[in-house]
């Protein structure tokens, strides 16, 4: 059977890849991918820790449910966030014919 550190390590790898993408990529869609990966790493940690929680007294299922409930809300929030970002990407593309974030500097002071 798998133990808690296995899942936490997978989550750490996802998060690290997300950080790498945020630092290096300049395409707006790649940045969205990176943010989604980091959100998923956080969600994975939520569920993993709630399922293995040593403080959860046996029989008290509600304690385990809280982590899963948080993740449900987090997924819904991430979906809304993705919709807004994609709308911004489409608008930026229509205005600039490009989605390179270093080129989108028309609001620069």
């Amino acid at each position: 059977m798998n133990s808690l550190p296995d899942f936490v390590l997978v989550s750490a790898m996802l998060f690290g890849i997300g950080v790498y993408g945020l630092v290096t990529k300049r395409n707006a869609l790649r940045l969205l991918f990176a943010v989604e990966l980091m959100i998923n790493a956080a969600n994975l940690n939520f569920v993993a820790f709630s399922q293995y929680a040593p403080f959860a007294t046996p029989g008290a299922a509600l304690t385990n449910g809280v982590g899963q409930t948080f993740v449900l809300f987090s997924i819904a929030l991430a979906a809304a966030e993705a919709a807004v970002i994609l709308a911004i990407v489409v608008v930026a593309y229509r205005l600039h014919r490009d989605v390179d974030v270093s080129e989108l500097n028309s609001m620069e002071g």
Partner: protein
């Protein structure tokens, strides 16, 4: 058996994430992201959280990934085929930062005594999650509904304003 499935899903998750970041064509990147999200859903199944796993597949793989694919195809140009590679200094600092995050988190896990709790607790059932959502977290649910509505209306408004600007330009 569970170990083999876990390893396979770990490879799918991390490999999909790498494809999402590094694929030359951004369409393949979007597909890699969908694969990675699917791998996370499988890990949720392994964690004995089937409701979250199914929710993840429905919302992420079903809705968000398809939405991203549509956007990619809407805004794809030839220019993207030859995406400007980042400067090597940026690339190096990105790799170093990512590795530093992974290694520090991994060392934290190794140094902790998390491996002591190797058994899954009693998983929460659908009933427990439903009770939580409709009692303790009911205000959160309603606020989330408003946030979703505001986000969708905002996204629609963004595209509409742009169309008017294009006409006047």
């Amino acid at each position: 058996m569970a170990d083999v499935i876990f390893l396979a899903m770990m490879v799918v998750t991390v490999g999909g994430a790498l494809v999402a970041m590094e694929a030359d064509e951004i369409v393949y990147g979007a597909i890699g992201l969908a694969g990675s999200l699917f791998g996370v859903a499988a890990l949720f199944f392994l964690l004995d959280a089937p409701y979250v796993a199914v929710f993840q597949i429905t919302v992420y793989v079903g809705a968000v990934a398809v939405l991203i694919l549509f956007t990619v195809m809407l805004v794809r140009t030839e220019k993207w085929a030859k995406e400007v590679p980042a400067k090597s200094l940026t690339e190096l600092s990105g790799v170093l930062t990512g590795l530093a995050v992974i290694i520090s988190l991994a060392l934290t896990v190794v140094a902790s005594n998390l491996s002591g709790d190797t058994t899954l607790q009693n998983g929460a059932t659908f009933l427990d999650i439903g009770k939580l959502i409709s009692t303790d977290f009911a205000p959160v649910l309603e606020i989330l509904a408003m946030v979703l509505a505001a986000a969708i209306v905002g996204a629609l408004t963004l595209s509409r304003v742009d169309r008017e600007e294009e006409r006047s330009a």
